[in-house]
Symmetry: C2
Subunit: 316 residues, 2 copies
Amino acid sequence: MKVSVGIDIGGTNTVWGLINEQGQVQVEGSINTREYSKPSDFVAKLALDIKNALLDSTFELVGIGVGAPNGNYFKGTIEYAPNLVWEGIIPLQKMFQAHFNLPIWVTNDANAAAIGEMLFGVAKGMKDFIVVTLGTGLGSGFVVNGEVIYGHDGFAGELGHTIVERNGRTCGCSRKGCLETYASATGIVRTAKERLENYQGKSLLQEQAKISSKIIADCANQGDALALEIFDYTGEQLGFSLANTVAISSPEAIILFGGLANAGALIVDPTQHYMEHYMLNLFQNKVKLLISTVPQHQAAILGAGALAWKNVNGAL
Amino acid sequence: MKVSVGIDIGGTNTVWGLINEQGQVQVEGSINTREYSKPSDFVAKLALDIKNALLDSTFELVGIGVGAPNGNYFKGTIEYAPNLVWEGIIPLQKMFQAHFNLPIWVTNDANAAAIGEMLFGVAKGMKDFIVVTLGTGLGSGFVVNGEVIYGHDGFAGELGHTIVERNGRTCGCSRKGCLETYASATGIVRTAKERLENYQGKSLLQEQAKISSKIIADCANQGDALALEIFDYTGEQLGFSLANTVAISSPEAIILFGGLANAGALIVDPTQHYMEHYMLNLFQNKVKLLISTVPQHQAAILGAGALAWKNVNGAL
């Protein structure tokens, strides 16, 4: 059976899988990213594990796809990733080529997720769409005419760092008012904490020892007015930003993925409402707002594996 | 000599030209758009004029490119263009095909301008750039990996209708705070009129019978503080918007064109300053902000002619 290798490098764990052309994970594995202070040791261990998995099988490797924070598609590198222990520019593609005589592609996790949706998920058959990952931060992958927008330098698709409120919340990037400070699993918690400070009414949220996006969703699902208001505000910031984004790339669909997207209608409904509200009439009622259908626990390796499959098979 | 036909349809006048592969206009003509209440009569007259120009020559037509307001590349139509006398959907491509046995492409004026810059202007050799036309409104054409972003429906690239101020100025599109209400030849006049109302100091602008973007530029060039402040504010709104746009498509350059772009450094300098100020550090000091080098009076037909050349020659 022909398979690609999909590797997702995270700050804590790195997971990998052998993915067949139908997007089924055949073998999975993981290693602890932090245990390897030298990236070459990390790659060597990964290569060893993958080769071991191939010993007793009839798998035929077609290529390797890697999703990594600050992964650069053009250069095959990881560049200055704040959440990884390795500093500077890591020539990941070259390092893998010391172990595999196969084509290897690197991109960031959101772009990999977009390709995963295109090959194996809800964007199958679409040529123009956007994937928005609502996790700790907000990542995005833009697909135009069947191809990911990498931009001039390979770093395109930073929707999380478009500014929705000049002089708004301080962002990890050191600027103010970035979308991801509002619309992400951490952003909605910031909203909750802000609102709770001066809230005069009674809310289930006041009884929680710790606020998380999951807990806010649970309270909203019990009809808690403040929790619902927090989702409404989050949807307004995200919907506003998406309306502006639609005016640029006019996608068929926008696909939400990740922690906050698990809230389902709680986040989709207000986002859709405000997106339509702020959208140019030319685009109104045309853009589908969808939730990813790729299984969340495998999405990262499926996306990375899809990157390899897409390149192996050329334009699909 | 091989030539394409470039046609630019405007609300008042329609200009056309025969364009060789080097981007030189060989023959030019124009007709009054408003004189033709039926678009088929309009196309018949255009076809007649073009065929007449070909009678005494050795020109060989390769294809026809049309730039038109609300021109749809996928359908070859003009759809609900507010500034044209023809209502509804005009099947322009089909109408031309009744007169010419040649490939015909239609797009909007800003996309045509972008292709013109790519083939004949300052974007020669670039694969990722944005053209922003600062005229009565603000138009834009996005090029990614050497191809124009048309989007799912053919209407992508409406940067002028991204919102930079929620609850800002009323726009012709019926919404509020669109970029083009600030950054355009009419937008800067609105800013001037607003500022003049409550201005306590003395300004050359107070002595003008009529305010235009040209007059504001003239006053600014004479060192008028208010006029300079008006350019600074216009540049802030445009630069803010461009910083957000760069985070999405990460272009090599942004090229300004049209009436307001003629102000040169007066508009480029503040725009660049604020673009860098609002930009994610990953993109800082990477994106060139340029003024178009295509001759303004021929830019529209050169862009339309370039659309035909690009399609005839395939990926360049």
